[in-house]
Amino acid sequence: MANMNMIQALNSAMDIMLGRDPSVVLMGEDIGYFGGVFRATEGLQRKYGEHRVLDTPIAEGGIVATAIGMGVNGLRPVAEIQFADYIYPGFDQICSELARIRYRSAGDFFAPVTLRTPCGGGIRGGQTHSQSPEGIFTHVSGIKVVMPSNPHDAKGLLIASIEDDDPVVFFEPKRLYNGPFDGDPGKPAVPWSTHPKGQVDEGYYTVPLGKADIVRAGAEVTVITYGTMVFVAAAAAASLELDAEIIDLRSLVPLDVDTICSSVRKTGRCVVAHEATRFSGFGAEILSIIQEECFWELEAPIQRVAGWDTPYPHAFEWEYFPGQARVAMALEAVMEPR
């Protein structure tokens, strides 16, 4: 075991997969010689060579499309899209191609592409470096969508994603790269070395896709969340002294419906929290499933916590971010007796 932040854990996952599987290649803008703007691929080109770790032109559509071609020809490409905000030029290739190649060719062709991309706000990134577009991709049939919240899961989920024969969009909440974050920007930053999930096995292991993690078991209310909001939600519940069950989904597609529903059946109350915008957000899908599966066990209307339905404004980052106060208001609402 070693102390790793999320960047180091992701680097370790790619290092291990490059070493284990000669078909794995990395590609992306600034990822080769430079090691990536967030340093996730640092040292990997030096170690595995320029034919395994490729710098690319600034063309996300081209990156996704050539990754598809490589994948169809037997490679296992892991492409970095430098910011999730920059993924849209690749959108047609993802939605119309990557997601459907297996389906339209009746299983004769497939492209095991993993798209890694940093997402989320809280880093003074303004409207073009802060978005959480995961819900756009969960709506596309044929791609898996993953978002870890800590170094241990990040490494295991990334290895599982690379090994998966289906395409995966792997979102990395960049506010969590260096440490857990409870939503209070005024507090000193906490490094991952102080957190149990910052203890990472240096060898090969996987965290299976489609399996949620019960971060904290509890009896009074279920909080379903993922990514940056895991620690924010846990802190808000703790500050209200609620015995909350905190569920980190980790993987949005496929979704661990069993873990969600058995928890809600137990507590009867539920808050769903994500950083992404609310309207047509992934939270609506969770609410809908719970309504279908657990309606008669519910004690109160389910509450949703999300980013406001605006772009992420540079000057109002913390008014925008769904921090502890917003989660606490939802928790209070869901705990109120009828």
Partner: protein, 425 residues
């Protein structure tokens, strides 16, 4: 079979090597008629238009013969751009602004091109064209207030620093996404032609961004409709850590993409104020006389880091810009003016001091409208405005929720049990 993997000419610890840059002698490239057909002037996309000798002498058919007063204005704008950049960089390092991007070494591109255009021409800049803002006469205080996201910010706090715009100055809103403005400029120019106006559009991207599909959309639409547009690729050799070879610059010049689409392509020394001015003037005349669009490649060097978030010491040779064969655009124009007897070291020093004072005074005024940490702040309600012309109901509700959230006592400081703790089942 083996893939070709472009190599940067020099990495840290190596000697800078710019032997790959294809140069033409100053004065050597002929100046065709502005109505020449793109297919007949293909050589312009391979040669390098230069007017200023490194000695400061202006030679050849592209000399725009500007009078001394205009040259002095150009020098002033370039120097102001550089001083502004230096000061804003220091303000970022001092924690006053969150982010900054300098244009060090590329000042001639924006300043000379803006001066060669008319005020009614619409500009679609990238994030390294602050010289356009300065040459268009946008107040320094307005630029600074944007950088500060303060109460006078033209973007109302919504954009990262340097993403300016000016409706009155005919400068479009800068996007943080790359190359998106390039085909938009073509559309603007098409509209000007549809409406029968004689304003043209001009847009700028880096050579790295020319890899994006939007670059190709721009060239295609410009070619099909022969739109009155000037499309500029600022080839500053680097896209963050990635050398221009990764944008496809090794096999053919960026200007040469123009003839491939049936558009005039022209390669110019981007650090030569006179050549940049002259080439832009030529392209503008082509556009205004219906001779069609022009793709200009401005060959220059990104002397600074990509941004304040970047450290080029990790990926390129130290002080490599000092070896750049096309020199420093400010030094070159200054030498030219001195040679003409229209400038002196003493006047240069005096101008530098004057502009430094101007920037310092502007900053003092700008911070009085608030900084990120002190003074007046923008009203957070603004977050919900301007998303739609009329605010929809769901945003009104969210604005109310945000107000309630901000008025609520901090959860960490809650001393008494919350109402929620009563009546738990």
């Amino acid at each position: 079979m083996r893939l070709h993997l472009p190599r940067a000419p020099a990495r840290p610890g190596e000697v800078p090597d710019f032997s790959y840059v294809q140069l033409s002698a100053a004065g050597a490239v002929p100046r065709p008629d502005v109505n020449a057909r793109a297919r007949d002037i293909g050589a312009l996309s391979i040669d390098l238009v230069r007017v200023l000798e490194m000695s400061g002498e202006a030679v050849g058919p592209w000399n725009p013969h500007l009078d001394a007063a205009e040259l002095q204005v150009g020098l002033r704008h370039m120097l102001l751009t550089r001083i502004f950049d230096d000061r804003m960089q220091r303000n970022q390092r001092g924690g006053k602004i969150s982010f900054y991007i300098r244009s060090l070494g590329e000042e001639a591109v924006s300043v000379a091109q803006c001066m060669a255009l008319r005020p009614g021409d619409m500009l679609f800049p990238s994030y390294r064209n602050q010289g356009l803002q300065i040459a268009r006469g946008i107040a320094l205080v307005d630029l600074m207030c944007q950088l500060l996201s303060n109460t006078r910010d033209m973007c109302k706090g919504r954009q990262l620093p340097v993403m300016y715009h000016s409706k009155a100055g005919n400068i479009f809103s800068i996007s943080g996404n790359l190359a998106t403005q390039f085909p938009q400029a073509v559309g603007w120019a098409m509209a000007a032609a549809i409406k029968g106006e004689d304003h043209l559009a001009a847009s700028w991207i880096g050579e790295g961004s020319s890899a994006e599909a939007d670059f190709h959309h721009a060239l295609l639409f410009a070619s099909v409709y022969q739109a009155p547009v000037i499309l500029n690729v600022v080839n500053n050799q680097w896209a963050i850590s990635t050398f221009q070879g990764y944008a496809g610059g090794e096999q053919r010049s960026f200007a040469a993409r123009g003839p491939g689409y049936g558009i005039a392509g022209i390669r110019v020394d981007g650090n030569d104020f006179l050549a940049v001015y002259s080439v832009t003037q030529w392209a503008a005349e082509r556009a205004r006389t219906g001779a069609g669009p022009t793709l200009i490649e401005l060959v220059t060097y990104r002397a600074a880091a990509h941004s304040t978030s970047d450290d080029p010491a990790r990926y390129r040779a130290k002080d490599d810009h000092l070896h750049w064969p096309l020199g420093d655009p400010i030094v070159r124009l200054k030498q030219h003016l001195i040679r003409l007897g229209e400038w002196s070291e003493a006047r240069h020093q005096a101008l530098t001091a004057e502009l430094e004072a101007l920037v310092a005074a502007g900053w003092k005024e700008a911070v009085s409208f608030g900084t990120m940490s002190e003074g007046p702040r923008l009203d957070a309600d603004l977050m919900f405005e301007d998303l739609f012309k009329e605010m929809p109901e769901h945003l009104r509700k969210q604005r109310e929720l945000m107000r309630a959230e901000r008025a609520a006592p901090s959860v960490e400081r809650a001393e008494s049990p919350m109402p929620a703790s009563q009546g738990r089942s």
